[in-house]
Amino acid sequence: MRQRIPSGHMDASKRGWQYQLHIDAPLLFALIGVSILGLMVLYSAGGEDTGLIQRQLARLGLAFAGMFAIAQITPRVLQRLTPWVFVIGILLLLAVLVMGEVSGGAQRWLDLYIVRFQPSEMMKLAVPMMVAWYLADARLPPNRYELLAGGVIIVVPALMIAKQPDLGTSVLIASSGFFVLFLAGLQWRLLGFLTALAAAGTPLLWHFMHDYQRVRVITFLNPERDPLGSGYHIIQSKIAIGSGGLFGKGWLNGTQSQLDFLPERSTDFIFAVLGEEFGFIGILLLFAFYIFIVVRGILIATQAQDTFTRLLAGSLALTFFVYIIVNTGMVTGLLPVVGLPLPMISYGGTSIVTLMAGFGMLMSIHTHRKLLPT
């Protein structure tokens, strides 16, 4: 059997354990590093609640297991499954809109009797997969019709999710689809046109926004307007980060977080706890991991061997970056408050499972490559 393989093609076993297990070690270690840092911050943010840490550990374990499982699936199979995943996702979103469960004022959940399930999570992966799938055989850069079709694939689920309403996820999904189009070679002229269109459409967007979303925008523009109401979160998180200084107040010593001044400190605003207790140095450490993960993801994309995997890998890596920048931008007061967690650090949510499934795909893409003769 070996003789039949051309000299350039090597058996996976010969390429080391990473290829046998379909694991990308640098990515794995960086993810583990972020998780450990995250657990430390969460331990402090959660008021030293070991129960909370155990539940987060269980969730992380599940997420890592999911990542390993997905990494075993070959990109070929992923590609073949893509249209099905997307169609099922769209149907589930429809189901949510029709009969979904209302939780916290938004209709995002679907009760599947066993687990409550958020179809929008699934779409975070399904949308870039679907766009990449659609462009897989196209001659790039995509032509007008292909761009239009790609646009429809993105906009339909994004709007459905925005309607739930879940603006954060909607933006995230739209940008993950957009990244596929952009990486596929979306013409600059068209990009300029779309940007102008978006700018022009902003007042229209205001018109369609919910009251609470408008309040968030107004609050973002001027948090001091209502310091004890809507502006409270952002004012307190800025105080937490700013008072942390270069080196922080020390682990478990953040007064803003330990004395309850910082709201949602275990979830969306956990970045402020990091900033307060570990200071600028701690934030640098976290971003060292984050940047490494993003760059590693882009590298995997550039080494991918076909259009589908290349576009998908690139989009997943960039979407991860969007996650980071939207959350940290929100907590530092650069962006309006949108309910997005800090990836790998914030407590709870199903998003971590989705996120790790994405990394599983990256690993799969990287470790299922055929070695080409050089």
Binding site: A240, T255, L259, F280
Partner: protein
Amino acid sequence: MLRQLTLKDHFLEYHLFSSRAIVMLLFCGLLLLVLFSRLLYLQVIEHEHFTTLSEDNRVKLRAIAPSRGLIFDRNGIILAENLPSYRLEITAEQVDDIPSTLAALEEIIHIREVDRNRFEKLLKRKPRFEAVPLRFHLSDEEVARFSVNRHRFPGVDIQAGLARHYPLGSLGVHALGYVGRIDEQALKTLDSSNYSGTTHAGKTGVEKSFENLLHGTVGLEHVETTAQGRVLRVLRRTPPVPGNNLYLTLDSRLQADVEKALIDYAGSAIALDPKTGDILAMASMPTYDPNPFVNGIEYADYTALREDEREPLFNRALRGQYPPGSTVKPFIGLAGLEQGITGYKSSTYCPGFYTLPGSSRKYRDWKRSGHGTVNLDDAIAQSCDVYFYDLALSMGIDRIHDFMQRFGFGKQTGIEIQGELAGLMPSPGWKRARRGEPWFPGETIITGIGQGFFLTTPLQLATATAALANRGMRIKPNIIQSEQLAGDSTLLVRERQRDEAIAMNNPAHWDAIIDAMVHVVHGERGTARRSGLDSPYRIAGKTGTAQVFGLKEEEEYDAEAIAEKLRDHALFIAFAPVDDPQIVVAVVVENGGSGAGVAAPIARAILDSYLLDKES
């Protein structure tokens, strides 16, 4: 053929992708640059600003109220003390539904209407997370009942504190006064930072007038709190300085005897030491118990006190203004001697009435049949009105006014209890200014017997009498004997103040007047001779019966026939022992009828209590 056109150029696509990936990475880098600039701005440039804000969040200043100084009588008997007391407080932010919580609390703790109203008022203007008191002075039973049920009431707590208590109840209440909760009006006059932890302040009497000594200085605690206001630990503490203890000049035993002597009447009695001006007793009757006022008296009880016809809340000793009646005769007589208008021997015939020259209007003597021929000594001892009508008319109102003012009539005595009234020493100038009318000679005549516009307070009478007893040395009535700094056993004795002495051209005039006053009590025909019987010490005194309303010329005064409200006030001034005066007494009994019959026996009882029991 279509297939042919769409053939992919993998090499080109790879380069396209790579360039796009680099663009995206650069874009990401740009975003990171913005984010890190922001972080540097927050964490380095504005670090101090946010540190300050964070400290402001975390550290709260908490005022610690000083404990109020205690009040004792001159012998160290406690008059005002601080007792441990439990109050029920509610932190509104920690209570879901206040009305239902109140309803549930009501089942185990008695909540009055006043409590509820005060609570609701305080609730509206309190800072976030600050507890608001609902009930004060919980009984031990209520504390126990609440403790058992505490789990049902999150946000409701019992706080221990000190509460003012007056162990002797109503005794001397008009001098001592009481404290009450600081209301919005009081807040304006008090130093808000020094009172930031204080709930009560003096409302009347010594408690109010010496508020600055009794209160002390507020302490401060820097405490670390959670966002919910829960205190975690004390970071720094400046202890409060307790208020000074005050020793009053009052003798609570004598005060009790004075109040007992006056128990059936509305009136006032003052006893003071003529040498020092120390007020030994200061009674205003009827009295009331100050203790319910400390934490808000029940509305119905307060209304009852206010609407009581006998006006228990009225401080007669300082604010009651009465015509002095015949008690002014020794002073008028002294004026006559001093000014050479009358002499020891010169006498006047008293037919029972007096008429102004050229007028037929009769000014009657209290004795219809007249006193016959009387000299100054007789006129004082028997209280002959006609003698003084004549003397007053000869002297003229201006000289009477100027002389009487030197004894303090018409002026505040300067006692350090707020609210004292000045009485009224009339003069033609005053009448013109206040009434726009000229002065009539008839008004001079009745001023000579302490009637007409002439008004004095009981305290004024007492200090004027002290000046007589001291033969011209004028003391300022004094209520504080000594002060005691917190945590220090030494007593700082207060300096006694004196007013300008009254000098006589001939000091023998003093003796003549004092002798006449002795004859009032011990003389054969003295008006108060019954009160002087069996007295082991010699008393100088003067009776007074002041008309409340004027009788017509020919009308007969019939005490039985007229309403009690219109009956004459009974007065008596005295000092004893005559040779070495140790006590001066002034008694005013409203509508008592007769100075000799009612006021003099009361004065005698006071003198006995002080001079006889003191030695035993």
